[in-house]
Structures are given as structure tokens and as C-alpha cells.
């Protein structure tokens, strides 16, 4: 069993974007703040701060989660992928490229979360209908695009790989 008192710091070890990370953190630090402030991974955005908008979506052991609703200490030993971890050496993923090609981006504040939700969707489903994409995107709020071109991008990747 592990106990860390509130006056102490917790030695967090985890893998972020494929790289092992070790940091001393206070117990009440949210994963979102850990990523943004401790690791400087500012692609993960805060909008509502209460798990309604999905702007802070990251993959935790491969599953989309809202980083604003998780204490960083809870992710000890786990693997996290943020938007910064998708493209390697400047190579965009097919979905990132599709967001550019399908004009899916406007102000861009929701986009990192949208792309991570899209990546998980594409991994989980062989094929996706527009209706399924819309349902599965329902945890990510966008105020600019009306979602249509975001759905287009995800649908195109799903279709192209068949």
C-alpha cells in the first residue's frame, strides 16, 4: 500500500508520448495541469474544467479521458498520449492530415481533443458511419465548425483504409 501525506510530494512515474517521465508532484495536481505546466505539453487545452467539453482529451492506456477530471497521481505506471505524441518527426498521422485536407480546423482550440477522440474511434472500429462518428464525438464540443468537416475528416480516414 502507498500513502503520501499532503505535505509530501508524490514521485510519479509514467510514460508520456512514449518517453518515461519521472516527476515529484503534489497529490492534488490534476493530470491536465501536470501535462501543461510540469511537462509543457500545452496542446492539451482547458475549456470547461469539468469533463463536459473534451478539450483536454488525452489517451490514457489507449482510452480517451478528460485530463481535467483525473488526479495525476492516479496515472502512476500508465501510458499517456497527448496531441504532441501523435506525429513523429514531423510526419502527421492520416487523421491529422485529413483534418487539414477537409478544412476541419477553424479556431483550433478543440482540435487536439477532437483528433484524439477520432484516433480512438478509428482504432476501435473497422468502419464508421457518419452517425456513429457524431455519437462518438459527442464528448468534444466545437463552437466554430458545426462538426461537419470534422466528421468528413474522420469518415475519410475510415474509408480510405478499407
Amino acid at each position: 500500500m502507498l500513502s503520501v501525506s499532503n505535505t509530501d510530494y508524490f514521485d510519479l512515474e509514467l510514460t508520456v508520448n512514449g518517453t518515461p517521465v519521472r516527476r515529484r508532484i503534489p497529490t492534488h495536481l490534476r493530470l491536465l495541469d501536470f501535462l501543461r505546466e510540469e511537462l509543457g505539453l500545452t496542446g492539451t487545452k482547458e475549456v470547461c474544467g469539468e469533463g463536459e467539453c473534451g478539450a483536454c482529451t488525452v489517451l490514457l492506456d489507449g482510452l480517451t479521458v478528460d485530463a481535467c477530471l483525473i488526479f495525476a497521481v492516479e496515472t502512476h505506471g500508465m501510458e499517456i498520449t497527448t496531441i504532441e505524441g501523435l506525429s513523429r518527426n514531423g510526419n502527421l498521422t492520416p487523421l491529422q492530415q485529413a483534418f487539414i485536407d477537409h478544412h476541419s480546423v477553424q479556431c483550433g482550440f478543440c482540435i487536439p481533443g477532437m483528433i484524439l477522440s477520432g484516433e480512438q474511434m478509428l482504432r476501435d472500429h473497422e468502419q464508421l458511419t457518419r452517425e456513429e462518428i457524431r455519437q462518438d464525438l459527442s464528448g468534444n464540443i466545437c463552437r466554430c465548425t458545426g462538426y461537419q468537416k470534422i466528421v468528413d475528416a474522420i469518415e475519410s480516414v475510415s474509408r480510405d483504409r478499407r
Binding site: 500500500m1 473534451g54 483525473i70 488526479f71 492516479e74 477522440s117
Partner: protein, 288 residues
């Protein structure tokens, strides 16, 4: 958010010991409610006990006449479980209308039950399914029927020292089925304005046994006993269904808030009850 002492026991007994020695400690499962509540100042915590590493909380097991769902199972894990698909497809339909994909990856069944917010989804269907919850503490375990577990909005009969460990759902008779109808303002990620869970054991269109449970129309789920009793041993004609729906409406005790008026919620209960029953019996279409 204030600092706290963080505990992460690896065994249930350790967690039980902590709960016994640290009154006021908060249990942390998925955290989707706790982080918001701490942030909003609705609760405070000097000690937080994480349930993350306790293996038995995360399993779904089939027993002779029931299914035991670990309280730490996430909603997404329940949706993915073959056992649930086989025995309780109605829980999948609850998952479909529950929160967002991100929240479903973290939120646990035990958490949804223990948070006991008036508009919660799973307590309603689990009450209709006559589930029981198991509470563990250093002193021992006890079982509480789901219908008795929530006491009021955000209040349950769980004692401070107790941990909800599993939810036991009795297998249904072969001809029985259940259904959850939820009304919400938006197509996704939206709380219930009103909801209804119906359990029916049918012999053709004749009802052997029925239970009707109402959500978001009282501080905790309402067992619409009279509405269900009306159906018992009857042929479920459209008229009988309408009468039962009317009794369900009378059993609701809603309030007016930012989401809807009490009046409208009562009307929704009538519509949703009828909608559920008609679909279960196999009537086409809808009537008022």
C-alpha cells in the same frame, strides 16, 4: 483544490482499515464526480483513498443465478463485457445515453451509484432489476437492496467506513426484459430531465411481474409500486398500459429547476412509461 493525503491500498482489507481509521476520508474511483465536487467546494477531503489497485473491484463474474459487477468497473468496461451483453443488454442501452465517451472510460458503476445524484441513470435501472449492493468494512460485509441504497439527493445508506464492492444483479427469467427510457434536452452528453426503467416478466402479452422505477423526479429513484401492481397478472392492452403510465405520473415528486418545470417532468414520466411498456410488449407506434 486543496491538498490531501493520498492513499492507494492494494487490497480491499487495507482500504477497509483506512476507512475505519480515517473518518471523513473520500474514496476515489473514476474521479469524474469527485474532482468536480472538490473543485466546486461541495465536498472537502483531507484523505483520499484510491481504489485503483484493488483487483476484485474491477471484475464482472457470472454466478449461478446472478451477475456480480465489481464497483470499480467503468461504464465502458460494462459496455464491452460479453457477460453483460448476454444477460443484461438493457444496461448497454443505459450506457448509450450516459455521459460522454471520455467520462465512460473513467466513471465507474459504483461511483454512479454512490454519488446518488437525483438525475443519475444506473440506480434507476438497477432498482428495476432488483440489484443488491455489497458493502464492505473492517467490521464485515452487508448487502443492501438497490432500492434502499439511495436515501436522498447525494445521500446513501453507505456508512463512512464502508466501501461499495459489488453490484449483484439477479438473472432474469427467460421471458423477462427491462428497458430504460431517458429524456434529455440534447442528443448526447446530457443529464436526465426524467427517466423511467421498466422490468417486465411476460407470458405473451400477459404480465407475470412488473417493476417501474422513475428517475430525476424525486431526490432518489421512485419505485412506482401502484403503477407496477396494476400491470400484475394482466393482459397488457394499450389501455392498461396507459393507466399504469398515469399512475407512474402520479408517483413522481419532481421539482422545477433550470432543466424543466415539475409539471413537464410529470408529463414526461407518463410519456416515457407508456413508451417503454408499449415497446416491450411490441405495440407499434405511440399514443398519448
Amino acid at each position: 483544490m486543496a491538498e490531501f493525503t493520498y492513499h492507494r491500498p492494494a487490497r480491499l482489507t487495507e482500504a477497509g482499515d483506512l476507512m475505519a481509521t480515517l473518518p471523513g476520508a473520500r474514496l476515489l474511483a473514476g474521479g469524474t464526480d469527485l474532482l468536480n465536487d472538490l473543485d466546486a467546494g461541495l465536498v472537502s477531503a483531507q484523505h483520499v483513498i484510491s481504489l485503483r489497485d484493488i483487483p476484485e473491484l474491477g471484475s464482472i463474474t457470472e454466478r449461478a443465478d446472478s451477475i456480480a459487477v465489481g464497483a470499480g468497473c467503468t461504464i465502458a468496461a460494462i459496455e464491452a463485457s460479453p457477460v453483460i451483453h448476454k444477460y443484461f443488454p438493457e444496461l448497454l442501452s443505459v450506457g448509450l445515453v450516459f455521459a460522454t465517451p471520455q467520462v465512460k472510460h473513467r466513471a465507474t458503476l459504483g461511483g454512479n451509484i454512490c454519488s446518488a445524484v437525483a438525475c443519475g441513470d444506473f440506480p434507476v435501472i438497477l432498482t428495476a432489476l432488483q440489484a443488491e449492493v455489497t458493502l464492505y468494512s473492517a467490521e464485515g460485509t452487508r448487502s443492501v437492496p438497490m432500492r434502499e441504497f439511495p436515501l436522498a439527493n447525494r445521500k446513501t445508506c453507505r456508512r463512512d467506513s464502508e466501501i461499495l464492492t459489488e453490484i449483484i444483479i439477479p438473472k432474469k427469467p427467460p421471458a423477462a426484459l427491462a428497458r430504460y427510457e431517458k429524456f434529455r434536452r440534447r442528443a448526447a452528453g446530457s443529464l436526465a430531465v426524467a427517466s423511467v426503467a421498466v422490468y417486465l416478466d411476460l407470458d405473451g402479452t400477459r404480465c407475470r411481474q412488473a417493476r417501474i422505477v422513475l428517475g430525476a423526479v424525486a431526490p432518489s429513484p421512485v419505485n412506482a409500486v401502484e403503477a407496477a401492481a396494476l400491470l400484475q397478472q394482466k393482459d397488457l392492452t394499450p389501455e392498461v398500459i396507459r393507466q399504469a403510465a398515469d399512475l407512474a405520473r402520479k408517483a413522481a415528486r419532481p421539482i422545477t429547476d433550470v432543466r424543466a418545470t415539475a409539471e413537464y417532468r410529470r408529463e414526461l414520466i407518463f410519456v416515457l412509461t407508456q413508451r417503454a411498456l408499449r415497446a416491450m410488449v411490441g405495440y407499434h407506434g405511440e399514443i398519448r
